[in-house]
């Protein structure tokens, strides 16, 4: 992971963070729906310095066959980081961290996707992190929702995701890599704004009960900002002039 700069000011006296953002301000977010020819649906997201590509296939036949379920379709998610995506080269084999993140993203998407309409099939979501800079799981989840919608798979809602956290004793939105390394707490949240349901939630770091409640609120508000950008990405492709 990146080196820690002991002199870095995480939050100055005017409430401005180390990368110039305000407390409740997310990093720059750009989402593009589509872009891959062969995938049934795809999306590309830039979330600060994170660059992530998502491709969706399916509903399609399940291989190996014993994984299929006669009552419902299944969702399979692979979250993978490229060897060149982080400071020091990462071993390309899936790490325990990547396996866990794949699982939590899968469980965050499952409530949104109407898999029961497609028994015996699989929907595969492939997430490739091209460049990582803190908060990849939230960026990946947001992009995966757009890619699933782009694939035309029936959904109850899109999952929008953003982290909140505690930096310099203050609850802030969208913790970046420096803040995560030096900060006090990081809470990634995945949220379906229409259904008002939290589908991804993790925390590491110490929070008082009051900070905990506030952190969830700040994160949910952040997800709503991401949600608007997700919708715009789909509108641009299907109704705008940015389509391809």
């Amino acid at each position: 992971m990146g080196g820690r700069d002991a002199t870095m000011v995480l939050l100055d006296e005017n409430g401005i963070r180390c990368d110039g953002r305000k407390v409740n301000e997310p990093r720059r977010i750009m989402i593009k729906a589509g872009g891959l020819k062969n995938a049934d649906g795809s999306a590309y997201i830039e979330f600060g310095d994170n660059k992530i590509l998502v491709g969706v296939f399916g509903p399609r036949d399940v291989h190996p066959k014993h994984m299929s379920n006669t009552d419902t379709g299944i969702l399979r998610v692979r979250y993978h980081m490229e060897p060149f995506s982080v400071g020091e080269r990462k071993n390309p084999a899936p790490s325990r961290r990547e396996i866990e993140i794949s699982k939590v993203i899968k469980e965050a998407l499952e409530p949104a996707v109407m898999l029961d309409k497609f028994p015996r099939t699989a929907v595969d979501v492939f997430i490739e992190v091209l460049q990582a800079d803190g908060g990849t799981r939230c960026a990946a989840l947001s992009a995966a929702s757009v890619a699933l919608a782009d694939a035309g798979i029936p959904m109850r809602d899109m999952v929008a995701a953003c982290a909140a956290g505690k930096v310099a004793d203050t609850i802030v939105l969208d913790v970046n890599n420096e803040e995560d390394q030096a900060g006090q707490a990081d809470m990634p949240i995945g949220y379906m704004p229409n259904l008002e349901k939290i589908t991804l939630l993790q925390l590491d770091g110490v929070l008082t009960p009051e900070e905990y409640t506030k952190c969830v609120q700040v994160g949910v508000d952040g997800c709503k900002i991401v949600y608007d950008i997700q919708k715009k990405a789909l509108q641009d492709k299907y109704f705008g002039n940015g389509g391809d």
Partner: protein, 271 residues
């Protein structure tokens, strides 16, 4: 542990009872199962515990040995916690590399203890940047009846509370054991994880095996001795409302406080 017709029947029964505010085993919704803790169960380990949470049983052994520090953490000792399901714990468990469920289990248990800063790793340095003390807490599940997250967390915490670390001096560029000098592992706080399952619109604490197979989603929250929340993991294929999340936070603090007392008692009995 795949779903079957039997599981569907069990689920409808569990849900029916919950509608009346009852649980299959007669517990209150926020009542964990009986916890029994036996410390120093494995004398050859530096610390150990055998924990039963209802019918779920976990053994944790702590091994403490000199190790090289992580490159950017030369002034800190190492703490690692693992968890493994033994094939004798359930008919569906097979040998081989761990699947995503077990990897998540081990990482969540490790994260809860690590993020609480239970072990003061700054006191576990033999020679800065060269040699530190490594504390390894390895959990093995020997019998399965749901909620391995909490069972493993209590076993690891109880084992760490009972652990004694040997002393090493830096002599001739190697860590050298000082015979007969053992001190308790430096403990800063006692983390307690509380796992809750959501079944229908009901939230229950410490789901047993049948409840585990029936749940829609779950949440594991770890609190420290000061009543702060220090780690959390949501799992399962459904979501929680924001109110649910806030309520689960409160439950984890008050249920956790009671369990913390049990862990302290076990530590005193062990001494």
């Amino acid at each position: 542990m795949t779903s079957s017709v039997l599981d569907d029947l069990k689920k409808s029964q569990i849900l029916e009872l919950l509608e009346q505010g009852k649980r299959v085993d007669g517990r209150a919704l926020d009542e964990p199962r009986e916890i029994s803790i036996e410390t120093n169960a494995i004398p050859k380990a530096n610390g150990s515990a055998r924990v039963r949470l209802g019918e779920t049983e976990v053994i944790c052994g702590v091994k403490i040995q000199p190790d090289r520090p992580f490159p950017d953490m030369g002034d800190k000792g190492i703490f690692i916690c693992t968890a493994e399901l033994l094939p004798l714990s359930h008919p569906t468990v097979e040998t081989g590399p761990p699947g995503p469920d077990v990897i998540e289990l081990a990482r969540v248990v490790d994260r809860g203890i690590r993020e609480s800063h239970m072990i003061d790793v700054s006191q576990l340095v033999i020679e800065k940047n060269k040699s530190v003390v490594g504390v390894f807490a390895d959990n093995v599940v020997v019998d399965y009846d749901g909620n391995l997250f909490d069972a493993c967390s209590y076993a690891a915490t109880a084992a760490l509370l009972s652990s004694k670390t040997p002393k090493w001096n830096w002599v001739d560029d190697t860590p050298t054991l000082v015979e007969g000098e053992e001190t308790p592992v430096p403990i800063a706080t006692i983390p307690v994880s509380v796992t809750m399952a959501k079944i229908g619109n009901h939230i229950i604490v410490d789901p047993n095996g049948d409840e585990w197979a029936s749940m829609d989603s779950r949440i594991t929250i770890t609190t420290d001795s000061d009543g702060n929340i220090c780690a959390l993991q949501k799992g399962g294929s459904d979501g929680f409302s924001q109110d649910d999340i806030n309520r689960c936070g409160e439950i984890s603090i008050h249920v956790g406080a009671k369990i913390r007392e049990k862990l302290k008692q076990a530590q005193m009995v062990g001494q």
